[in-house]
């Protein structure tokens, strides 16, 4: 990790320091309170949800008699009990809180029950007698495409004449690849606790990335105004996108039950129910048809992306848009035709997950690149280099944004040399000659990830800063803390702005009554936006203090400096607290709101063109793997990462994002497999069957570095870059290293789908015998 040397501003030296997470000492002592740890009101009831056991069925009747008489049961909730909108879909109102009449997936909430204990509620829920008439269920995205079953209209993007480009290209390859979905597997499951307040008020503690959305959904469903609902979240035990839209479902049920019973209600999903009921990363089927020249340079490409959206729109629109935006990864695609299908399937409605469609888009193009290399018998690295964005005219994306900050080639070059890629690749080829059963593979892949919400209006943030008479500071902003270190980063910004020690700043919970209308903490934008908003708030107070000091001490503004807990005023120096006290006595307001909206971005969704992203974050990774060709078992042996964090606000936090993101991405591409049975039921709904990486899966050699002198060209907060999502996609290197390992002369481009489980790998190896699933060469 590189220590920061220079700073544009920053007067207490907090920004750029590898400070521990603000709650680290609480985490390790078990003192950090998550929603289920909060003191419970005496009247609290526990809620459980009854779910559909059919993937698609008419619900003829729900008989809850046995539920109601079960021990400890106080109340039940059905769609007819919902006074407001039976919906928690924020973008499209197509997501019922409780399915009304038609159940559309196994796990669809049908009713809820409140009881005096968690156990009583869950046991009671199982006693419902539900009569269904099964309907035809669409369980596969491709079936949905042929049936025309979509949650949103298909979208197209075009550049040049891809068909002509393909026809005229010296080489052409077409193939279908699949990448699996992924469960967020936040360690803390979904939870909300609703507490009725006087005069129709409702206080909700929710484990959510988006308190504002929970507030509005709860308000709509319960027939309230937003002003009557307060949503608070101090921290989440992980979220990864899974608590962006899904948290509203949980909160709505808790609130509706609280209204029905007049008592406080808590809904905490059991792990299995959580995995069955709530959305995940979209799995994709990707067809590509690519034309290229003898050097491996792409001349034209035709993509078909079909994603499993599940039953409703949820966030599938922007997720699939982002997949479209990232089907170039770091490469210039001169001619392109792309169609994106948002398939409606009778499975849980898929949602946000770190990367938000980006990983799937990149997966497609990287598969094409890998195939080109294997077809031309080139090192895939050479093909990647051929295709990087470069000088004009090769510097404009397929959606019209100029790539004006391109450091992908430079990062690749440095990583190639740092990781000794060329020599190791040669050594591996050699090793594979000597070893019949075990095979090694290596791959290097780049990441270029666009930062901003693609929906321009979401790129705004608010903050609230109070300074108390003793000089201590309370900080609030619209961002939520899910472990990513947002709160410490923003506190560092505020401490530096005011020139006080970070210990002077108390971080407070996200709270819709403090900062209204906040966007979700998502799209990696948390510290970019909330950092700027909080800085703005602190700067306002600082300006007032400065003006006061000028008046009071008869100095000019240039003679005032806030640093290290002191304020230098001309020749004298005053403790910050002292100045604050004097200012208060002089009736200066010591509280301010801050606001930020991301500049420069504009984007026309009807034409898919403009500048949706403020900037790009870059990185690259080399992975080396070993595969047992008898079983498909595999192991990552070494990883080298070079990642771009701009001027990092907190290198320790950013390093954590890179490492954690990479490992999570490696899980997505290897061991994490979602399976459904023929009736549409998810069969991998607990950690016993759904396997995220464990400690031993971390490569024994794991070298992670941040790019030095990587100042963001754009005016972001202290010129840092977002690090939440981009590192996840570095793990594509693992997938292509596995493909490299099992590629042989007889079959250079094995038909490997993600996740590359041992079974998927063995299938790809065995396919070598028959040539099914091979890329079809259309050479002339």
């Amino acid at each position: 990790m590189d220590a920061k040397t220079k700073r544009s501003t920053g007067q207490s030296g907090a920004v750029g320091k590898p400070l521990p997470h603000d709650s680290a000492h609480l985490h390790v002592a078990g003192q950090a309170a998550y929603t289920d740890d909060l003191p419970e009101p005496r009247d609290l009831l526990h809620v459980a949800v009854g779910m559909s056991t059919h993937a698609h069925a008419r619900v003829n009747s729900i008989d809850l008699d046995a539920v109601r008489v079960a021990p400890g049961v106080i109340a039940t909730l059905l769609p007819s009990d919902i006074p407001g909108d039976n919906n928690f879909g924020a973008i499209v109102a197509d997501d019922p809180i409780l399915a009304d009449g038609i159940a559309e997936y196994v796990g669809h909430p049908l009713f809820a029950v409140a009881a005096v204990s968690v156990d009583a509620a869950r046991k009671a829920a199982r006693r419902a007698v539900i009569d269904y008439t099964p309907l035809h269920a669409i369980l596969d995205p491709l079936e949905a495409v042929s049936a025309g079953s979509f949650v949103l209209p298909s979208e197209e993007m075009r550049r040049g004449d891809a068909q002509a480009g393909l026809k005229n290209a010296p080489h052409r390859l077409a193939r279908r690849v699949r990448c699996g979905g992924q469960d967020q597997f936040y360690l803390e499951g979904q939870i909300a606790m609703a507490l009725p307040e006087e005069n129709g008020g409702m206080l909700v503690y929710s484990s959510t990335q988006h308190p504002d959305e929970v507030q509005s959904m709860v308000a709509h469903a319960s027939g309230r105004d937003a002003k009557d609902v307060i949503v608070i979240c101090r921290r989440m035990g992980g979220a990864f996108g899974g608590k962006e839209s899904q948290a509203a479902l949980i909160a709505c049920i808790a609130v509706l039950m609280a209204d029905k019973t007049g008592r406080s209600c808590k809904l905490r999903l059991d792990r299995d129910d959580d995995m069955i009921m709530t959305g995940k990363r979209h799995d994709f089927v990707i067809d590509y048809d690519v034309g290229f020249d003898d050097d491996g340079r792409i001349l034209a490409i035709d993509f078909m992306l079909a994603s499993r959206c599940g039953i409703s729109a949820d966030l599938s629109g922007p997720v699939n848009d982002r997949a479209m935006f990232h089907c170039d990864n770091a490469y210039f695609l001169p001619q392109l035709a792309l169609v994106s299908h948002r398939c409606k399937t009778n499975t849980v409605s898929n949602t946000a997950f770190r990367g938000f469609g980006g990983p799937q888009g990149m997966f497609g193009i990287e598969c094409a690149i890998d195939d080109i290399a294997r077809h031309l018998e080139m090192d895939p690295l050479a093909v990647r280099r051929q295709n990087f964005y470069g000088a004009a005219p090769r510097n404009v994306t397929h959606y019209g944004q100029e790539v004006d900050d391109n450091i992908a080639p430079a990062i690749m070059d440095q990583l190639v040399s740092d990781s000794d890629y060329d020599a190791r690749r040669a050594a591996i080829r050699n090793w594979n000659q000597q070893n019949a059963v075990h095979k090694r593979g290596i791959a290097i892949t780049p990441v270029k990830f666009g930062i901003s919400f693609t929906s321009t209006m979401l790129n705004q943030a608010g903050a609230l800063v109070h300074i108390y008479k003793d000089g201590s500071v309370q900080l609030n902003h619209g961002g939520t803390e899910m472990g990513q270190g947002l709160y410490i980063k923003v506190a560092q910004v505020v401490a530096d702005e005011l020139g006080v020690d970070i210990g002077q700043v108390r971080i407070t919970a996200a709270d819709t009554s403090k900062v209204p209308n906040a966007s979700a903490t998502a799209a990696s934008s948390g510290s970019d936006m909330n950092g700027k908003a909080a800085q703005n708030a602190a700067a306002k107070i600082k300006q007032r203090l400065t003006e006061f000091a000028c008046r009071h001490f008869s100095v000019s503004e240039t003679e005032i400096l806030f640093a290290k807990g002191q304020v230098r005023i001309g020749a004298q120096s005053l403790p910050f607290a002292k100045l604050v006290q004097l200012a208060w006595a002089d009736r200066v307001s010591l509280s301010a709101t801050g606001y930020y909206r991301t500049p420069k971005i504009h984007y026309d969704r009807s034409t898919f063109s403009g500048r949706p992203f403020f900037y790009f974050a870059y990185g690259a990774a080399v992975a080396e793997v070993l595969v047992d060709t008898l079983t498909g078992e595999n192991r990552i042996l070494r990883v080298d990462i070079l990642h771009d964090c701009g001027d990092s606000l907190n290198p320790a936090v950013d390093l954590g994002q890179i490492e954690g993101g990479f490992v999570q991405g490696a899980g997505w591409l290897t061991s994490e497999e979602l399976c459904w049975n023929e009736k549409g039921g998810l069969t991998t709904h607990a950690p016993s069957t759904y396997k995220i990486p464990t400690c031993s899966d971390l490569a024994p050699e794991f070298n992670v570095r941040m790019l030095k002198n990587a100042t963001n060209r754009e005016d972001t907060i202290y010129r840092s870059k977002a690090t939440g999502e981009p590192p996840l996609m570095l793990a594509l290197s693992v997938f292509f290293a596995i493909r490299d390992a099992i590629s042989t002369e007889a079959n250079p481009a094995p038909a490997l789908d993600a996740p590359a489980t041992p079974e998927s790998i063995l299938r790809a190896i065995d396919n070598l015998a028959d040539s099914a699933g091979q890329p079809q060469g259309i050479d002339r």
Partner: protein, 515 residues
Amino acid sequence: MAVNSPSVPAHPVACDTIRFVLDGEIISICNPDPTRTVLQYLRDDLRRTGTKEGCAEGDCGACTVVLLELDRTGNELRVRAINSCIQFLPTLDGKELLTVESLSSDGKRLHPVQQALVDCHGSQCGFCTPGFVMSLFALYKSEACAAGRKPGRREIDDTLAGNLCRCTGYRPIIAAAQQMSDASRTNVAEGWLAQPSCEHRSSMEKVAQLRNLRRDSGLQCAHAGRRFIAPQSIAELSAALAANPGATLLAGGTDVGLWVTKQYRELGPIIYIGAVSGLDRIVRTSTHLEIGSAATLSDAVPVIIREYPVLDELFRRFASPPIRNAATLGGNIANGSPIGDSMPALMVLGTTLLLNSSDGQREISLDDFYQDYMVNALRPGEFVESVQIPLAKPGALFGSYKVSKRFDQDISCVCAAFYLTQGGDGIATARVAFGGLSATIKRAKATEQALLGKAWNEATVAAGMVAMKRDFTPLTDMRASAAYRMRVAQNLLRRFYLETGPDARFNVYEYGRED
């Protein structure tokens, strides 16, 4: 619930009260709910919320706590991490419970393990962290780490196999594990606790306190009509079983616990075998290893591995340390899951079970024990007393392989075991058994026939692989397809051949793992 301070002489123990130590105090609970989990007790009854629930099935480690027990000599403490989410409350009787709060009550004075995690940035969302703290604390207290030795990567991986972290990617947690023993151990009394109130309780005092909790007669409590019986002798156990033929036998509870926490089953009377004296004994006779059915895997496995070193990887990959600290070999066998990991190996080694009941003892070969899916040869009132594993024979070839999606803490899609001896006329004994291919763990008779009398070479392996198709018709589920299961089963015979042949090879997982 009554709480007695240690200085006050304990009340005469009523047979319906359990007693255990928490933060130096003896806690007595009258008639605890037999299937209330330790986690529910901590979080809901004590509102001691540092310990988290991530899955309620023993798979994520968020609920990890540490138990202190007297060892068999009664003079030493055993320090073991367990999963509180599937441990039933009455099984705490006579033990000391440590939770994350025990190490630091206020988040200010931290235990070296906790401090190392802070210093290494080992927490992000922090939800998994208390569990990691407790698993690492057990490692810190282990012999392997005594005297400030730095644990190696493999040791850390193995220790943390049952703790999932979704945020960090583990690198900083591994760093913390290596750093924790750097801290001076002397300033925190024996490294037990950082809490001032507990600092001065030495191991000796802890031993004395636990000795005081020993009971004269078996625990028998009832809660809302549901009973928990913990006999203290084998005779009492068979009598209790005879009197309650429908009772659920409870050993480590790592299968039974999930019936309650995941299937929401109401269990009838529970007979707990963990307090039966002598049932946990492990002896090496002149012909056998005798593993008492109440011996935990953590105790039994080292003995088995000393006899059969090739089983090291299989047992390292069997669940996780907190599970193995509770689970028994007897429970694995008696539960009889078709994907149980110990049975293929035990079967090909010629293991027999000693069964017992009020009608007396009998022996049965493991080969004959399984009758159908989750149906075994135990008669009503009968229990497994011990598992008898023949000692290793020189010259025999033996191997057992587990294949799963993930290296650690995963359930096998296929588990294979091979045992061969060779005579002048080729293969003289061939025993092959598989889990994951049929409704029970089963010998592969056709495969064995194909090998018998042949030379141990490629051609024989190929014949064995073909014959295997006659032995099994596997099923497809979320762990693997039928085709993959069969293919892998066949290939494992080849792997066995390669490993016993002249150019022996490491398992894929060995690469890069050397410490």
